[in-house]
């Protein structure tokens, strides 16, 4: 009887142990399964993110190449033609005795056209933008806006400028161009306040206009705003847009400085 009860006890203990072990195994397998799934998901996200960045990079490179070709074409071809036209006008002015006033006006118009063309050519020229200081490029951009006589543009710089790598500078400049372009196309503004504030290792750029504004929450992002956000992510900068209907828009860009030793050789 004693032996029999021992066997029963062993059966209970053994059976319970097996069932508990199965329970443990199930929990263990679920935890491992979830962990593996999470790893796979994270890897997939990482690959998608890398692919997106590479695609954007390729898009930007293509765009820059197009800008560069366009810039050269404007400078070498149309620029030359305008210069030739101006030369011809000078020759006509020397040989002709009539219409001096009209010829002089035409020469002035040609001068303006050549000057504007040069500015446009420079803003499109990747190498030129990379070589020049960002301040200089922005001033040229604002000067072009002022010349239209539709906008008043203020430009303020505070703090001590620091180094930003040429590639990041170029993309930053394209973001600024895009936001100025948005103001021209959509804002209906008459005044643009542009400020660059260097504090510690962060450059804060504020572009404020007195235009119609929009509801940030309810307005879907257009191509321009999407471009700005994507480009901003590429250079590890942050973009903040503040706007209210009828109260204008402020776009702020926050970008960190680069280590000069690791910068361009």
């Amino acid at each position: 009887m004693n032996k029999h009860s021992n066997e029963i006890a062993i059966a209970i203990l053994g059976g319970s142990a097996i069932l508990i072990f199965l329970g443990f195994t199930l929990i263990f397998l679920i935890i491992i399964y979830r962990r593996k799934q999470k790893e796979y998901f994270n890897q997939k996200l990482l690959l998608q993110e890398n692919f997106r960045k590479e695609l954007l990079q390729a898009q930007l490179e293509t765009q820059e190449q197009t800008f560069h070709s366009l810039s050269q074409e404007l400078h070498d071809n149309i620029g030359q033609l305008l210069s030739l036209a101006k030369l011809n006008m000078s020759l006509i002015e020397m040989t002709s005795t009539d219409n001096h006033e009209s010829i002089s006006q035409t020469k002035d118009l040609l001068n303006t056209a050549i000057s504007d063309l040069r500015d446009i050519s420079k803003t499109l020229n990747t190498e030129y933008v990379k070589e020049k200081d960002i301040k200089e490029s922005i001033e040229r951009e604002l000067a072009m806006l002022r010349r239209t006589r539709k906008f008043e543009a203020d430009f303020v710089i505070t703090g001590t400028p620091f180094f930003i790598k040429a590639e990041r500078r170029l993309i930053l400049y394209r973001i600024i161009q895009e936001s100025l372009n948005n103001i021209v196309k959509h804002a209906g503004a008459t005044r643009i306040c542009f400020s660059m504030d260097y504090v510690d290792d962060i450059l804060t750029i504020n572009i404020r206009d007195n235009g119609v504004g929009f509801d940030v929450q309810s307005t879907p992002n257009g191509v321009g705003l999407l471009n700005i956000k994507q480009r901003s992510a590429m250079i590890d900068s942050k973009v903040k847009i503040e706007s209210k209907p009828g109260r204008g828009t402020t776009l702020s860009i926050f970008i960190s400085k680069d280590d000069e030793e690791l910068g361009e050789a």
């Binding site: 009887m1 009860s5 029963i8 319970s16 069932l19 443990f24 679920i30 799934q37």
Partner: protein, 212 residues
């Protein structure tokens, strides 16, 4: 005695933590609070009542425990699993009725066939929870879900006590000494489940709606 005291203290800790974190707890865990309060009352009554009433209290505890667990899983699982839950509870009470019908003083004996049925039902329901869990979105953090820990406790405790309930009466008759030596296994499993329930009450957090 020591294990029993630890067991009671653990249930009281569970109840205290649940009360302190009540606002952060989700509804299924609030139902478990009810179960634990009930278990505490039954355990104290069983400790101090006359020996002949102990089996009745255990049967009463089993029938009530399965109702609490049914409500818990009803709140927890997807509504499509409701027929399985209902099937389980109908199976349990039918079996209980048949046991009583066959032997009218079934509730006064230490033959806990109802315990076996309860273990089977709850093990099945716990399995359904884990099945749902592996299908949840990956962003879902199982460690922060109190229900994961509750069901870890369930999957260890309920299958683990299946044989103890089933062979309880037989072992008591064949060898009461040996049965007394097996009792710590039951307490050990009780401690495990309530330790994991305590973890569940500590970890559970209502998810805030995400702004996307």
């Amino acid at each position: 005695m020591l294990l029993w005291i630890i067991y009671i203290l653990l249930i009281i800790s569970n109840l205290t933590v649940a009360i302190v974190r009540w606002r952060q707890l989700r509804t299924p865990l609030k139902i478990l609070f009810g179960l634990l309060a009930w278990v505490l009352i039954v355990e104290l009554l069983r400790r101090y009542c006359d020996e002949k009433w102990k089996p009745l209290l255990t049967h009463l505890n089993i029938s009530t425990e399965i109702l609490f667990q049914f409500s818990y899983f009803r709140m927890l699982l997807h509504k499509r699993k409701y027929p399985v839950l209902l099937g389980g509870i109908i199976f349990f009470y039918t079996a209980l009725f048949l046991a009583w019908y066959t032997e009218h003083d079934f509730f006064m004996h230490s033959y806990f066939l109802d315990g076996v049925f309860m273990d089977l039902c709850i093990t099945l329901w716990t399995g359904l929870f884990f099945y749902e869990l592996i299908q949840k979105p990956l962003q879902y953090n199982i460690n922060r879900d109190g229900n994961f820990w509750v069901n870890c406790g369930n999957i260890l405790y309920y299958p683990g006590t299946l044989l103890l309930f089933g062979l309880n009466s037989y072992m008591k008759n064949v060898s009461p000494d040996l049965w007394d030596r097996l009792r710590p296994l039951n307490y050990g499993l009780n401690l495990t489940i309530y330790a994991l329930y305590l973890l569940a009450f500590l970890m559970d957090r209502k998810r805030k709606p995400k702004m996307l």
